[in-house]
C-alpha cells in the first residue's frame, strides 16, 4: 500500500517565513530597519532633491497625476449629470 505524505503548504510557508525572521534577527537585522527617529524620513514626506533627469521625471509624473485627477473629476461630474437627467 502506498503511503501518501500530505503536508499543508501553509505550515511549510509559515515554517519557512519564521525561519527567515529568526535568521534575520540573529544576523542583527532588527536594529537595521529603524533609523534615528529624530531624523525625519524625507522620502516619506516628499522633501527630497533630485538631479536634472529626476526633476524632469518628477514634473512629468506631477503632470500625469494632475491629469488623472482632472479626468476622474470629469467622469464623476458626467455621471452626476446623467443621474440628474434620469
Amino acid at each position: 500500500m502506498k503511503t501518501v505524505l500530505r503536508i499543508n503548504p501553509g505550515f511549510i510557508a509559515l515554517a519557512a517565513m519564521v525561519s527567515l525572521l529568526v535568521a534575520g534577527v540573529f544576523l542583527g537585522g532588527f536594529g537595521q530597519t529603524r533609523t534615528n527617529g529624530s531624523i525625519v524620513c524625507l522620502d516619506c514626506i516628499g522633501i527630497f532633491q533630485l538631479g536634472r533627469t529626476g526633476t524632469v521625471i518628477g514634473y512629468v509624473t506631477l503632470s500625469a497625476a494632475a491629469l488623472l485627477f482632472v479626468f476622474l473629476v470629469t467622469i464623476i461630474a458626467h455621471r452626476v449629470r446623467e443621474r440628474g437627467k434620469a
Binding site: 502506498k2 501518501v4 500530505r6 499543508n8 503548504p9 501553509g10 505550515f11 510557508a13 509559515l14 519557512a16 517565513m17 519564521v18 525561519s19 527567515l20 525572521l21 529568526v22 535568521a23 534575520g24 534577527v25 540573529f26 544576523l27 542583527g28 537585522g29 532588527f30 536594529g31 537595521q32 530597519t33 529603524r34 533609523t35 534615528n36 527617529g37 529624530s38 525625519v40 524620513c41 524625507l42 522620502d43 516619506c44 514626506i45 516628499g46 522633501i47 527630497f48 532633491q49 533630485l50 526633476t55 518628477g58 514634473y59 509624473t61 506631477l62 497625476a65 494632475a66 488623472l68 485627477f69 476622474l72 473629476v73 467622469i75 464623476i76 455621471r79 452626476v80 443621474r83
Partner: protein, 277 residues
C-alpha cells in the same frame, strides 16, 4: 460588520500611540520602531511607534543588509502564511480610510479585473528593484500614505530640532499631494483602489491567500450564486468563484451577508483530493 470597523480603529490607534509628540515635538526613536506593523502605516507619522513594512523592506534593500531583508521578509511572510490578507481587512489604517470614503454618495465606478496586476508592478519595480539598484526608497517617495500621515502633519507640526528650511516643500512635495488627492477622490467612487492597484504590502500578502492557514470556504451545495457576497465585498469579487482569491482582503463581510450561510472561515487545512482506494 461593526467588529471589523472597531478593530480597524483600534489598530490605527495601536499603530500611532505616541501622543507625547503633540506636547514635546519629539519623534519616537525607541527600539519598537524596529517592529514592522502589519499594515500601511507610515514610519514618518509623528505619532507612529512602529515601522512600515514596505519602508523597512526598501531600507533593507537600499543598505543591502541581508539580516534586515530576512527579518522584514520573514515578518511579512509569517503574517501572510498564517492569516493571508487579514491585515488588509482588519488592521490597515489606510484600508479603513478607503472603506469610509467609499460611503460618500457619489456615482460608483467598477475596476476591471486586470487592474489588480498593477500592484505587483508597484511591488517589483518601486519597492524592490529601484531601492536595490539605486539605493533610493522610490515607493516611499510616491506613497500617498506617507503624504497623509507624515508629509502633511509634519508641515503643520514640525518636530523640534529640525529647522523649517529642511522641511520647505518643493515640487516633489506637491507631486505627492497630487497623488494623494487623486487617490482620495478615487476612493470615493471605487472600492479600495489603493489596495487593488498600488499597495505593495497587499501584493505580498495576496500571494499567501491560496495557501494561508486561515481560509475561507464556500459550500457549493448550498450556495445559490445570488451575488450578495459581491455586493458587500470591499474589493468587488465573486466570492463563490474563488473564496481565497488573491484580491480578497479577508474582511469576512461575505460570510456575514450570505443568506444561505454558505461561506465559512477559520484555521483549516488545505483540502486535497482523497487518494483512490
Amino acid at each position: 460588520m461593526r467588529a471589523r470597523r472597531y478593530t480597524l480603529v483600534a489598530a490605527t490607534i495601536v499603530a500611532n500611540p505616541w501622543f507625547f509628540y503633540l506636547k514635546s515635538r519629539m519623534l519616537y526613536s525607541g527600539k519598537a520602531k524596529g517592529i514592522c506593523f502589519p499594515g500601511m502605516n507610515c514610519y514618518a507619522c509623528p505619532l507612529a511607534m512602529y515601522s512600515c513594512p514596505i519602508g523597512a523592506l526598501q531600507h533593507s534593500l537600499a543598505i543591502r543588509s541581508a539580516g534586515a531583508m530576512l527579518y522584514v521578509v520573514g515578518t511579512i511572510g509569517a503574517v501572510g502564511a498564517l492569516l493571508g490578507r487579514i491585515p488588509c481587512g482588519w488592521i490597515c489604517p489606510f484600508g479603513l480610510l478607503q472603506d469610509l470614503l467609499y460611503k460618500i454618495p457619489l456615482p460608483k465606478l467598477r475596476l476591471p479585473g486586470w487592474a489588480g496586476y498593477f500592484k505587483y508592478a508597484s511591488l517589483g519595480i518601486l519597492a524592490v528593484l529601484l531601492p536595490l539598484l539605486v539605493r533610493v526608497h522610490w515607493f516611499s517617495r510616491l506613497c500617498p500614505v506617507g503624504t497623509l500621515e507624515g508629509g502633511i502633519p509634519l508641515q503643520v507640526l514640525p518636530p523640534s530640532g529640525v529647522t523649517r528650511s529642511i522641511l520647505e516643500p518643493g515640487v516633489f512635495f506637491w507631486l505627492k499631494i497630487t497623488i494623494l488627492a487623486f487617490f482620495l477622490l478615487w476612493m470615493t467612487v471605487t472600492k479600495r483602489p489603493f489596495c487593488r492597484t498600488a499597495c505593495p504590502l497587499g501584493a505580498i500578502l495576496s500571494l499567501f491567500n491560496p495557501i494561508s492557514l486561515y481560509r475561507l470556504e464556500v459550500d457549493r451545495g448550498s450556495c445559490t450564486k445570488c451575488g450578495r457576497c459581491r455586493e458587500v465585498c470591499p474589493v468587488d469579487i465573486n466570492v463563490y468563484d474563488n473564496p481565497n482569491a488573491l484580491e480578497c482582503v479577508r474582511c469576512l463581510e461575505c460570510r456575514d451577508a450570505c443568506p444561505s450561510a454558505s461561506v465559512t472561515s477559520g484555521f483549516r487545512p488545505l483540502r486535497r483530493p482523497e487518494p483512490a482506494a
